[in-house]
Amino acid sequence: MPDPVTGDEVTGDGSQVTGLGATRADSNGAPNPLDTPYRQREESISLSRMEAPISGTQVEQESELFTINMGPHHPATHGVLRLLLTLDGEMVREMLPIIGYVHTGIEKSCEDQSYWKVIPFVERMDYLSYYFNAMAYCTAVETLLEEEVPPRAQYLRVIHMELNRIASHLFWLGTSILDLGAMSMIFYALREREIILDLFEMSSGQRLHPRYFQVGGVMEDIPPGFEGKVREFLTIMPERLDQYEALLDRNEIFLQRMKGVAVVSREDLLGLGVTGPLLRATGDPWDLRKAAPYSSYDHFDFKIPVGTVGDHYDRYRVRMAEMRESLHIIEQALDGLPEGPWITDNRKIALPPRHELATSMEATIHHFKLVTEGFRVAPGEVYSAIESPRGELGCYVLADGSSKPARVHIRDPSFSNLQSLKLMGEGSLIADLIASIAMLDPILGGIDR
């Protein structure tokens, strides 16, 4: 039927046959752009249009490579990451990441502290997943000491780690969608994160970096109202996750920026040593919680979300689904929480409870030795790995028989994942590079240590 304004014929599928086409041919005889439907026209620029964008004029084609520094202070790099980009227009031809701007010398400082005092240092490496850092280190030292962790402590560790996983993914969601331009997500994500930080404050007194995990168990038992509050959180969280997905999943701009963008193959990622949600997005169900279960993860029944294509949309979906699975794990852990001690009974490693100090001389001596010198570990070296929100977090401890570790090294997942940024970024536009950095979820504290 004719369009009332221009008199054109409008067909059923939205394409237009213009009545003016015959009179408005290009001056150099190129096919009239108005002949193709609107969507198709906007998706690509034909070569003839590039060569003569304004009919009647000639524009020279010059391509010049321009090196720019996406410096350590940038609103969209997550932390102080510096990228040297060589650009051809908007296309990134080459990319060189430069790190080290928040290098703190944590690994060297750890050699100067007793084993107990290393825990706060190690917690501050990957500063969004602090419980995981402490867990990797404590697991390594417990392996060196051949120490058993009581089952209640294991379940409490699982609850806190999964809560931390949800908090880390929420912060990732807020900040990466903020980088893409949608500002409202960060307010919603931080609202839920505040509830989780309240739970951490309830159990240990600190929102970030609590020294809750100790060698041999956890520092203290959970207070009486903790379980009720966690269950309250578990009831409201699934519908909040539905709200986030409703905000994003059918958003046209979001889908166009995420689908099909920055596909990296599984073999490339495995060659680089990438693990975590990036690897699972390509379809590889590798998760250390299932493959090499630690801290009674094998008591719980949960699924591992994997993607199919390996683009940004899969990475986003994998992390959203992981949050739901974490809720499931926390529920099972709360239901099955066993009674018992929350730290090992071995007084040579764990502090005795305070009420014993008044009555028992032995307890006082143990307390004194542990606080002043710390426990000694027989010589040996151990590497143990856990699954953090970003991938495989491993800890290598070399003990030489004294009360201070001789070498503590944390294998940080973001350090290996950063090498895949080159594959994702080169050959893409700058806007896609920003999305790649966001979806990669780097934490510079872990990379730089």
Partner: protein, 173 residues
């Protein structure tokens, strides 16, 4: 983890395939297997373990350095390998001295070793021959010294109490 017999088998295969004196030691402690090899043979050992072994270790989980002062040879580089099919970890260790810290690079086998080798070079001074781009990662590029060696001073400022508050803020080495 490979158990004792598994580790013995691996050590024997490496001796047969690569060189008789390649394996210096094989230890199994706390349930973890560690194989120590000589630095010149590391490329052949790792490529055997990655491609030709019966259960190939095709994932490099971690590459880190270690300073074994006061034992000689001082510097050690650990390659932590992972077999994803059987979920077994194997550590391969090489040790060199500070005076000749050269180890051939396995970047062609495991691409992810690139950044990690640069970090070991930055902190311990181990030079990986054949590495495409051996620069410092964390410290500024013109920094002198290798911080994580055990004889490098920890640095920092002294905490000022009343007895030493008239000293300057910089601690002597």
């Amino acid at each position: 983890m490979p158990d004792a017999t598994g580790l013995e088998l691996i050590a024997r295969e490496v001796r047969e395939r690569v060189a008789d004196d390649a394996v210096v030691g094989a230890t199994l402690a706390h349930g973890q297997a560690m194989l120590e090899v000589r630095p010149e043979t590391i490329v052949n050992v790792l490529s055997y373990l990655k491609h030709d072994a019966a259960e190939p270790f095709d994932f490099l989980a971690s590459l880190h350095g270690c300073d074994y002062l006061p034992e000689e040879p001082r510097l050690g580089v650990h390659y932590q390998l992972l077999n994803r099919v059987r979920v077994e970890r194997l550590g391969v260790k090489v040790r060199t001295t500070v005076e000749e810290p050269e180890i051939p690079s396995v970047v062609d086998l495991y691409l992810g070793a690139n950044f990690q080798k640069r970090k070991v070079f930055d902190f311990f001074g181990v030079i990986f021959t054949g590495h495409p781009d051996l620069r410092r990662t964390h410290m500024p590029e013109d920094y002198e010294g290798h911080p994580q060696r055990r004889d490098f001073p920890i640095g920092g400022e002294p905490v000022l109490f009343t007895f030493n508050e008239h000293e300057g803020p910089y601690r002597d080495a």
